[in-house]
């Protein structure tokens, strides 16, 4: 490095020499000795330069022999000595002076401050930019979600999406474009145009129209006056309203409001007398206002006014009162009728049970029974009718129970209602005697096992029901499954303590009868296993005790509950905290008895064996009897073909192949499967279907025009995508689906954002140029 520098200086010197050679040739002003001394110095410098060329830094400190010629006021020159001046050297003497203390202090203060954080790394910044941009874009895109969803699920899509609106040209335009050519046409045209017959509106000619339009002078004057008056009135009203609006007195406004309210009330009273229907309507409006209020939550403490009042309330009694008033009003408005909510709760319970088909009447009846204020129902005009309708059965139930129900369909319904009513009564009683019960825990009432409780109550209900029926000894048709459901639904309601004390006498009676019934049931069940078709029983014992089918049905229901019963039976043993031993015993015995009866006819194994036997029988090939009665011998009523003939014409079926499940006692292998048909059958349930029945149903519904009307056929065979031949299908546009497309063009945005772009672009260019 140093050598190169030396070489440079050498070069520079040489050049200088050359330059200075010129003036030597033309000595104009320089004196001889000056030139001499100059040359001497240069020579010395040259020598120095040469000596420094050899690489070693043998710089000698030049001695300063005389005062420097170049004294500048701007910088201290240190010519001669090779050493540079350092600022600190100059400052050294100043350091002690105290005038710089202020500066120092400032410096310290600056030092004490925290340093500014480093700006983020460029990549980091870019990442953040990208993330923000991505979020923004995906937000923009999410507006397409509903459209895409709709298009994917659409029954039919017709492309191109944007339809060219067919333009309706007015008939004049069409007519004017058309020229009459044939003489007949011309004649007609002439006729038409001579009278200026209208083309479009055939009623009035333009002349007629013009005459109609014209008004008489008086009329015009009158109309103008009328308009003037109306305008003046309007302005008066406006002025008045403005004035009233400006009045700041709160008292005035309050009075005004009260006055209005009073007026309204008065009017309402009047209306009620004169026109009850209108009054009812009015009332409904009020109800609607309440509902709106409920929705809007206007009278809560969130309004501007309320907030201001809340601040004032601390100091101002009046404000506090106003606030309280408002809160009260809010409460009043927000109050929903209690009963409705209760029924909702009830429904919730029902849903928990997993019973979607809850009869409405359950709730209704209950409402009737427990509703505190029947007038509250007036508001629900729609509900009222139902309530009335539902209310009727309650009164009707008793008489209906006395009479034999004529229609078969009505029977179960009535029975169901009775049952429900019983439940209702019991519950209300329970509610009344709630306190009593707490003091008198009896038997299983205390158990916490809800399901066993449910079963108990269920059984109780059953017994009551049977009891009643036996008492009245009347014909009851098979109760519909709906009853069953209703009963099941009621179970959780029975979870609460039962007023057993109230029920016991009834039940004691019941049991006896139930036993009898049970015997009957058992007797029947011995003949046939339960699972064997019940219809047979029905046929066999048409004259049986009439409540037996009922009982059967009940049993079936309980068998549905089989799991429940079997699993919970041990817990039933350890049921309760006994008050008295015998009470408990009795209870338990009851339970066992009941369960035994319930499953008396339930022999699963025997059922299965029978089923298998039947299956085997069914699958065996049948003999074919080709005897023709009366052929070759006498025939007629009471005459049978002879045994010989029968024997002759009976074709014995060949013994089939041995059954595959012949040696498997616990299995039935169906041999119905047809291999030939199986080749054409679908083996696995295809994807969108969740149940084989769904699939079968779609297959079984024919779509051809042989089975469907023309319209239905067209609808069923509608193609999913319809395109018009020869039409270009453009990509979907926001306008097509009713969105507004962004008015700014993409390009304009890019160009409005030039700063970042330009920087980026510059960088890019730089990079490119470097490359």
């Amino acid at each position: 490095m140093s050598s190169s520098r030396a070489a440079e200086s050498l070069l520079a010197l040489n050049q200088q020499e050359e330059l200075e050679d010129l003036p030597r040739e033309y000595p104009l002003s320089t004196s001889e000795d000056e030139g001499d001394s100059d040359g001497e110095r240069k020579h010395q410098k040259l020598l120095e330069a040469i000596s420094s060329l050899d690489g070693k830094n043998r710089r000698k400190l030049a001695e300063r022999s005389e005062a420097s010629l170049k004294v500048s006021e701007f910088n201290a020159s240190s010519e001669g000595s090779g050493e540079k001046l350092v600022l600190s050297d100059l400052l050294e003497p100043v350091k002690t002076s105290s005038s710089l203390a202020a500066v120092k202090k400032q410096l310290n203060r600056v030092k004490s401050k925290k340093t500014v954080e480093l700006p983020l790394h460029r990549e980091e910044i870019e990442r953040i930019h990208r993330e923000v941009a991505f979020n923004k874009t995906s937000q923009v895109l999410s507006k397409w979600d509903p459209v895409v969803q709709k298009n994917r699920q659409a029954e039919q899509l017709v492309f191109p999406l944007s339809k060219q609106q067919s333009v309706f040209a007015p008939i004049e335009h069409v007519v004017s474009g058309w020229k009459a050519r044939t003489p007949l046409e011309q004649e007609i045209f002439n006729l038409l145009h001579k009278n200026k017959q209208p083309v479009t509106d055939p009623l009035l000619t333009p002349m007629e129209k013009a005459s109609l339009k014209a008004m008489s002078l008086e009329e015009v004057k009158m109309r103008r006056a009328e308009l003037q008056r109306a305008r003046a009135l309007q302005s008066y009203y406006a002025a008045r309203a403005r004035r009233e609006k400006k009045i700041k007195s709160k008292k005035y406004h309050k009075l005004l409001k009260k006055g209005k309210a009073k007026q309204a009330l008065k009017e309402f009273e009047k209306l009620r007398k004169v026109n009850p229907a209108a009054a009812l309507e009015e009332l409904e409006k009020l109800e609607k206002a309440r509902m709106m209020e409920r929705m809007s939550l206007k009278h809560q403490n969130s309004g501007k006014w309320a907030k201001s009042k809340a601040i004032m309330a601390k100091y101002d009694l009046e404000a506090r009162q106003a606030m309280q008033e408002q809160l009260a009003r809010n409460k009043e408005l927000m109050q929903k009728i209690q009963v409705a909510s209760e029924s909702a709760e009830e429904e919730g319970v029902a849903e928990e049970e997993g019973e979607p088909f809850v009869p409405d009447m359950v709730n209704e009846v209950q409402v009737k029974a427990s509703g505190p204020n029947p007038w509250m129902f007036r508001n629900h005009s729609s509900d009222t009718k139902e309530a009335e309708v539902q209310g009727d059965p309650e009164e009707l139930a008793e008489p209906a129970a006395q009479e034999a129900p004529e229609s078969e369909e009505e029977g179960p319904v009535v029975a169901e209602e009775i049952l429900l009513k019983e439940f209702e009564e019991r519950r209300s009683l329970r509610q009344k005697s709630g306190l009593k019960q707490i003091t008198k825990p009896v038997g299983s009432q205390e158990t916490k096992d809800p399901s066993s409780q449910g079963v108990l109550s269920e059984l109780r209900a059953l017994s009551q029901k049977l009891n009643r029926e036996n008492h009245q000894s009347r014909k009851q048709e098979l109760s519909s499954t709906r009853t069953v459901l209703a009963v099941q639904r009621e179970e959780p309601a029975g979870e609460e303590e039962e007023p057993l004390l109230l029920q016991r006498p009834e039940r004691a009676r019941t049991l006896d009868e139930l036993e009898e019934l049970g015997k009957e049931g058992c007797f029947q069940n011995k003949e046939l296993p339960r699972a064997a078709v019940e219809g047979q029983q029905w046929e066999r014992n048409p004259s049986n005790h009439l409540s037996v089918p009922k009982e059967k049905k009940r049993k079936e229901q309980m068998i549905d509950l089989q799991n429940l019963l079997t699993t919970k039976s041990p817990s039933m043993k350890s049921l309760a905290v006994p008050t008295t031993e015998e009470l408990e015993d009795e209870e338990e015995r009851d339970q066992r008895q009941m369960i035994k009866e319930a499953f008396a006819g339930d022999d699963v194994i025997r059922d299965f064996l029978k089923e298998k036997r039947e299956a085997v029988e069914a699958s065996k090939p049948k003999d074919v009897d080709l005897t023709l009665p009366g052929w070759g011998e006498w025939g007629g009523v009471g005459l049978k073909p002879s045994a010989k003939k029968r024997h002759r014409f009976l074709i014995k079926a060949p013994e089939g192949p041995p059954r595959k499940d012949g040696n498997l006692p616990n299995v039935i292998l169906s041999e119905k499967r047809n291999i030939r048909a199986a080749a054409h059958q679908v083996r696995m349930l295809p994807y969108p279907f969740t149940h084989h029945q769904q699939f079968e149903r779609t297959i079984q519904t024919p779509i051809g025009s042989t089975w469907n009307t023309q319209r239905a056929f067209q609808k069923l065979t509608m193609p999913k995508v319809v395109t018009k031949p020869g039409h270009i299908i453009k990509p979907i546009k926001a306008e097509d689906v009713g969105y507004r497309s962004s008015s700014r063009s993409d390009l304009s945005v890019v160009q409005r954002n030039p700063k970042r772009l330009s920087i980026r672009h510059k960088k890019q260019l730089k990079k490119n140029s470097v490359d």
């Binding site: 991505f134 895409v148 080749a679 679908v682 024919p702 042989t706 056929f713 395109t723 390009l747 772009l757």
Partner: protein
């Protein structure tokens, strides 16, 4: 005695004109039309068979190029016009109805890498290996004029792809970076980069037109926002993506044609899992194009076949191939969604029906009703084994067929191995990764 005559109103049975259809009284009593399911089944079976009988998708071959066709472009306004660029720098404009080349330009030295039409259809752009972007008039020079581009932009690097904005006078090129150009300027108004690798294709979103997607040779797909002039997100796949195509009906869906024989449909808002993996090809997929209805797309592959996939199915519904068709480089679905064009290595552009057995031309209403009914029947009974077998049957060239078998074996082996690995390791230590997730290496924010 009054005699009652049988009489009926002639209105109910007499035609008004001779051209009317005969009025046929029908009795829809189901007992009169028994066996509806078996009868319809037979009809469906016949319809399926007929469909296969009439499946003749190949329409025409446009020959004239003197090198492999490297790119295709549709005319935005005219269905009959198609543009193609070849590997020798030649651009040809074809008329499909006449099946003739109507215009020919020597556009570039070397490959024509990309070609795209302006949205108005008056001009088109090409990029080539000679580092130029050229704009050309759609209708050739008038008499006596020389064939010259309207504009030429000389770039610094090779441009490998080009796409035009769907609404504005802006186009995008790709190469070292994605450049967005104003048509009026000779320098890009914005360039976007993310990493340094050559980008093979760039595509504008046809619905939300400010969005762009590109794919680079470092296996990633990058999305850009033109308005904010920034990349948005990047997804890195197992292998390189050759090109992408946006769904014209669903703004956020795009499909990527990948080197690993598969196509991946992504929802751009959730790039970590593809919506669907479409597999059937047995070699790298080179190009993909959506049908304008957005319900299907067609893909061109190196395995000398093109396949049509429904967007929501992972298997193709159709495969087209001919003996003479070599590696298919580019493919396009025409804007009326009726035809498919593909350009291949052996210098031909082929025209196919998008629906192989469709009858072309005007259909009478009864024909239309019959085809609709048949279509619906086929759909209804599509799961029945016989019908399924017939409708799925395709003849394949031996190379593809054997490849498919081979790959089936490979796939099965892989699956078995994975199962074994799971079976023989501590429960929970080996996680099963779904086929969809397996292919996505990373999503970079």
């Amino acid at each position: 005695m009054k005699v009652k005559m049988l009489s009926r109103n002639p209105d109910s049975y007499v035609r008004e004109t001779k051209l009317d259809l005969q009025r046929v009284p029908r009795n829809y009593d189901p007992t009169l039309h028994p066996f509806e399911v078996p009868r319809e089944y037979v009809r469906a079976l016949n319809a399926t068979k007929l469909e296969r009988v009439f499946a003749k998708p190949f329409l025409a071959s446009l020959d004239g190029h003197r090198d492999g066709v490297s790119c295709l472009a549709k005319h935005p306004k005219s269905l009959a016009t198609v543009l193609s660029g070849a590997c020798d720098g030649e651009v040809r404009i074809w008329n499909l109805t006449k099946r003739k080349c109507i215009h020919m330009i020597q556009a570039h030295e070397g490959f024509v890498r990309g070609i795209c039409t302006r949205f108005c259809g008056t001009s088109f752009f090409t990029v080539g290996d000679d580092k130029t972007v050229k704009q050309w008039k759609m209708d050739g020079p008038s008499f006596g004029e020389e064939e010259e581009p309207l504009h030429t932009i000389l770039g610094k690097t090779v441009y490998t792809g080009i796409d035009h904005h769907w609404k504005e006078a802006v186009f995008a090129t790709c190469g070292q970076q994605v450049d967005i150009w104003d048509e009026q300027r000779s320098s890009p108004i914005c360039s976007m980069t993310w990493g340094f690798d050559s980008i093979s294709s760039v595509k504008f979103n046809p619905v939300e037109t400010f969005l762009l997607g590109s794919c680079a040779s470092d296996r990633n797909i990058v999305l850009y926002d033109m308005r904010q002039a920034t990349p948005l997100k990047k997804v890195i796949l197992d292998m390189r993506t050759n090109t992408i195509c946006w769904n014209p009906m669903e703004a956020f869906i795009f499909t990527a044609a990948n080197e690993d024989y598969n196509l991946y449909t992504f929802d751009m808002r959730a790039l970590d899992t593809p919506v669907m993996v479409h597999m059937d090809h047995v070699s790298a997929v080179l190009d993909v194009d959506y049908s304008p209805t957005g319900k299907d797309f067609v893909s061109a592959s190196f395995d000398k076949s093109i396949r049509i996939f429904p967007v929501d199915k992972s298997r193709s519904r159709e495969v087209y191939h001919t003996k003479r068709m070599q590696h298919v480089i580019c493919v396009k679905w025409t804007s009326d969604s009726k035809y498919i064009m593909c350009g291949s290595d052996e210098m031909n552009i082929r025209l196919w029906k998008a629906n192989a057995s469709e009858k072309l031309g005007v259909l009478t209403s009864r024909e239309k009703a019959a085809t609709d009914y048949n279509q619906r029947l086929k759909e209804k009974f599509q799961h029945h084994p016989h019908i399924k077998r017939i409708s799925r049957h395709r003849h394949l060239p031996k190379s593809i067929y054997s490849q498919i078998q081979e790959q089936r074996v490979m796939k099965e082996a892989r699956r078995r191995k994975e199962l074994n690995r799971i079976k023989h390791s501590k429960p929970g230590s080996v996680q099963r990764v779904s086929e969809k997730k397996k292919r996505v290496v990373a999503v970079v924010k």
